[in-house]
Symmetry: C2
Subunit: 252 residues, 2 copies
């Protein structure tokens, strides 16, 4: 644990990111990228393929968003550009097959997730806040077997300060009573702190370049960082008191 | 107006479908399909291309969902199958270009939409409930210029009875005080009536085969049908009393 900036306080909601916080996600994309590089190995070297794919993804992100379908279209576009149109129909079909494999992949929870979530759900109301494709995120949550622990599921297209403000306002939660847990400093931690909420960073072992945050931004905030999710209950226990209430007004 | 099954009552929320209810949508897909058929004209006749594309779409729907990205992947797959892999990289690129054109297409509101929505927003709280891709639906709503009239935006992956039940429960609205307006009997009308809500069908001039509803299902319900959205205020005026309240508890 790097440092603790959160004084003791009352906590009403513990919210979790999903991909690479509750279940492994990045490895799926990495494996698809590896298949893609092998597919194009006769046309270009790996580094060049990776660089061009990353460029295409970054260019398409605003329009295609996060998710397997947008990633697949970016792979196909990159393949056409890298081969100057010589890519064959069969090779494009391979890329789509690879997409289907990603969509059907079993969900592998990170160590300690099920126990931690189950135990915290006895104490706090839990929320899931995940960025990405609506259908894909819903399908993963269903397959994760964790749905029932969460009283609120929010699938969003962006994770900005205003996103978190809208969510807490919609559910009538004071930001100071809202704590977000996630692997991304940029999307799960900084915007929540900026709104006056609380956040815990649990790093995942790989990190997408897009998510890099400047050292300055890091210095400005005293980040709470845990090495793994199983340390969360003890941390919350030490620093917070759960908010207790009857059925909240917006749940029947 | 075919028939009116809704007795006078208090109405709290008027909810709208978006695609082909507020703005034209189907023509975009039809135009993309036409481009697709022209692209493959040297390989197959139009009817066969259309049949195979529809088959692929139906097969992929559960996994890819609604939206341009899923539709594009289905077009690419169909092109590969129909040409037995002989489709060229350049032709695939044409399909992706066509997808981008759909994503960038200007929003054309249906006649009377802006005036009707603006005027109803003075009387009722308005909700938008649209099925499809999160990012695409958000982008269209922004470009429509209608965002500010809606107090709640719900982008969902399915429109089933339980979807509407979850939404009305989340916002603490009695189903009988909820009225849905949309062009789809299957997705906007029947599931809402089944929950005990109210619904108005405003047909769009084209209809996707998936949305066909059996005659029997239609006979079971006395449907309220309006020819165009501009008739809605007078209809609501005749049959309902708006629910008046201070700021609802879930809005700050």
């Amino acid at each position: 644990m790097r440092k603790t900036a959160t004084p003791t306080g009352v906590l009403e909601i513990v919210a979790f990111d999903a991909d690479d916080t509750l279940w492994h996600h990045d490895p799926l994309f990495a494996a698809a990228q590896d298949r893609f590089k092998r597919l194009l190995a006769s046309y270009h070297d790996e580094a060049e393929i990776e660089r061009r794919l990353y460029e295409t993804e970054a260019r398409n992100l605003e329009q295609f968003g996060y998710g397997v379908k947008g990633f697949t279209l970016s792979m196909i576009e990159t393949a056409i550009e890298l081969t100057e149109g010589r890519i064959t129909g069969r090779e494009v079909q391979e890329i789509i097959r690879s997409a289907r494999e990603m969509l059907n992949a079993p969900i592998h929870l990170l160590d300690g997730v099920r126990e931690t979530i189950a135990s915290l759900s006895n104490v706090y109301r839990l929320m899931l806040i995940t960025k990405g494709d609506l259908l894909e995120q819903e399908a993963k949550l269903t397959r994760s077997g964790l749905s029932d622990y969460f009283s609120v599921i929010e699938i969003v297209s962006h994770k900005e300060q205003k996103t978190y403000e809208a969510i807490t306002q919609r559910h009538a939660i004071a930001p100071a009573r809202f704590l977000m847990v996630g692997n991304s400093i940029k999307y799960d931690v900084l915007p929540v702190l900026a709104m006056g909420g609380r956040a815990v960073h649990i790093p995942y072992h790989t990190n997408w370049p897009h998510e890099a945050v400047s050292e300055e931004a890091l210095r400005q905030h005293a980040l709470t960082e845990l090495e793994q999710i199983s340390l969360l209950p003890a941390f919350l226990n030490t620093h917070f008191t759960p908010f207790v209430q009857g059925a909240p007004s917006f749940e029947p």
